[in-house]
């Protein structure tokens, strides 16, 4: 008989476990947001936290995102470590003034005297059939704001590790949770979670030689699937998972593209001014003499997020990725 030590866990469970372990380890960690208490959050990420730690540690707040983040700023000023839940990507916008004018600047404004260790959890991205305002990929707003870290896991293991690291960080972290992957499963042992990774380290998820797919969050599984399909075309694709957009692990990306000589950036967010634009520019600057083709991008269209019955046309899919890879000037 063999004992089953490792059971499949979902990303949602791993995130919840990360919150629980952070709260158990550090009494200054406070979870707050809409419906995070009795209900356990609309995605059940905070399930059981109020029961275990009490309402003062996991708090149902009034329904007001600026107020949630604004009071979290004050709590952090006083020495607490708030973890704020924004219910959906597009519901986080009312909090932008607090985020941009205060959260991102307080350390700088006070010359380091008052850092704000706040983690802002934001479920993001499409693919769940959500109606309007439930599927935005808002990362470019955050990456455009100096002073914020922007982190996004793509695997169950990273969901745990990166959230632990984000909460432990003394800087504010916008923690983007790919809601499409909440129910993705992996073998992961919550009783013996792996070591907490540092923020800002990309990973090569699949080694390859023909071209590099640079991606993150909800697009990672799509890219891995595309890489498998590409074998039929004779392409051996490397897939890099950024895991954090700020800091951006340029070295891992540059090393990969210098090896493969070709690169495609893949994300759900709109193309114009999206993270892919910056990544493509940097890759071009640093890999110019290694490149066999221009750096291409597969992104969401530059349109407001489509209604759910049309979203499949908008989201980067395997076919569009392969079509783009085909345009990497292989005839040369």
């Amino acid at each position: 008989m063999t004992t089953v030590a490792v059971k499949p866990a979902t990303m949602a469970q791993a995130l919840g476990r990360a919150l629980r372990d952070s709260m158990a380890e550090d009494p200054t960690v406070h979870v707050m947001g809409e419906d995070v208490g009795t209900l356990g959050g609309v995605f059940r990420i905070t399930d059981g936290l109020t029961k275990e730690f009490g309402e003062d540690r996991c708090t149902d707040t009034p329904l007001a995102e600026a107020g949630i983040l604004g009071t979290a700023v004050g709590m952090a000023m006083y020495g607490l470590r708030p973890v704020v839940e924004m219910q959906f990507d597009a519901f986080a916008y009312p909090a932008f003034e607090q985020l941009i004018s205060h959260v991102a600047r307080m350390r700088n404004r006070t010359r380091g005297a008052m850092p704000l260790p706040i983690t802002i959890r934001v479920p993001y991205g499409g693919g769940i059939g959500g109606v309007e305002h439930h599927s935005d990929s808002s990362e470019a707003y955050y990456t455009a704001t100096p002073g914020l870290h922007v982190v996004t896991p793509a695997t169950v293991e990273d969901a745990y590790g990166l959230l632990r690291a984000s909460i432990a960080s003394d800087d504010p972290v916008v923690f983007l949770e790919p809601k499409r992957l909440y129910w993705s499963k992996a073998e992961w042992n919550p009783a013996a979670p792996t070591a907490v990774p540092g923020i800002g380290k990309a990973l090569v998820r699949r080694a390859g030689t023909s071209a590099t797919l640079i991606t993150y969050g909800p697009s990672l599984p799509v890219c891995l699937e595309a890489a498998e399909a590409a074998r039929e075309e004779g392409w051996d694709l490397e897939v890099v998972d950024l895991r954090s957009l700020v800091p951006f692990d340029e070295e891992t990306v540059v090393a990969s593209v210098r090896r493969t000589g070709r690169a495609v950036v893949v994300h759900e967010a709109n193309g114009f001014g999206g993270p892919g634009a910056e990544i493509a520019a940097r890759v071009t600057e640093r890999c110019f003499h290694h490149l066999e083709a221009p750096v291409l991008r597969v992104t969401g269209f530059d349109i407001p997020y489509p209604p759910p019955m049309l979203e499949k046309h908008h989201l980067p899919g395997v076919d569009r990725i392969l079509d783009t890879v085909a345009r990497l000037q292989w005839e040369n």
Binding site: P62, A64, T71, E97, M106, R107, N108, G147
Partner: protein
Amino acid sequence: MRTTEQSVGEALQSPATAGGGPALTLPASHEEVYAAMTVQELPGAGASYRPTPPPAWRPRTDAAPLLPDPEPYRVLGTPAAEKLDPDLMRRCYAELVRGRRYNAQATALTRQGRLAVYPSTVGQEACEIAAALVLSEQDWLFPSYRDTLAAVARGLDPVQALTLLRGDWHTGYDPRETRIAPLCTPLATQLPHAVGVAHAARLRGDDVVALAMVGDGGTSEGDFHEALNFAAVWQAPVVFLVQNNGFAISVPLAKQTAAPTLAHKAVGYGMPGRLVDGNDVAAVHEVLAEAVHRARSGGGPTLVEAITYRMDAHTNADDATRYREDDEVAAWREHDPVDLLERELTARGILDEAGIQAAKDAAETMAAALRERMNADPVLDPMDLFTHVYAEQTDRLREQAAMLRAELDAEAQA
């Protein structure tokens, strides 16, 4: 939460305590009405239809005790002035005179190019001083960009208080050490911070009150609403001081709100509102001290509206003659906070010529020192631009810092 299964009669027997709010006291007439509607006792009621209030409804806080004063509360020039504390009033007087001189000096520094901008509080000194003096050592002050005088009256070095306005850095002091939050420029956005500090302190069992300052224009902002709402729901030990100085730059209060008074806004959140003469330092001090005491003893937040007037333009860069009449300014000059106190104290023998002169001399000493120190060029290191963005510099910032370093070195060699 009370459930809909409970009758109104039951609800009345156990006063509402949800959210830690004040115990419910309803006027007898209401009680009688709702007791009569307790369905079980209703004789002859049909079995299928029993009229009751809407199921989820239950009586909450009584609004009457929360209503603000019918007119601005005053002490100076009223019988209440007989009970003035002479020592406190002499201190207030000295601070008012110093504050008036500080305002004049700061405005002069803008003309000399030593301050980028200065939003004056001439005419509002009573509010600034009282806000600072009612707080204890461990309490927190949340000033807006106009409230450098409150920070100085709390003991902050004036040069540090003016750092933002000089332009050499965004905050010139350590907010934790001084318990003075950074001067806040985006209107009302510091109010939720005050609620957060007060809430966190209460969770930790610390005896801390936060006093947050905002102007009449700021009360239109969403953050004002959200801060008051959170404070009341959490019963956070916060005092909100609105200085209604008549104008948001050029826009008068009539275009800002249709509320009976700004203090009335408190009632909507379930907290008491107070209305006070903002140029009567004794009255402002008394009202704020009561609010601070209430917060400290677990009574929750208070909204105080102080009626005052911005005698100067919005800043040195503004022209107030474009939007207000001279006779309005003249009328307020007759209600000057320094004069009001000086007249009361001299008439009561609390202040004499020597006391007045001593206050003036102390103010001149402060101004001279401020002038001299502000005339020295601040020493700046451009490399500081990259030092405090993150706890640890990112590769990208290191690269950009190296670029600036090289430019500076080349400049130095040229």
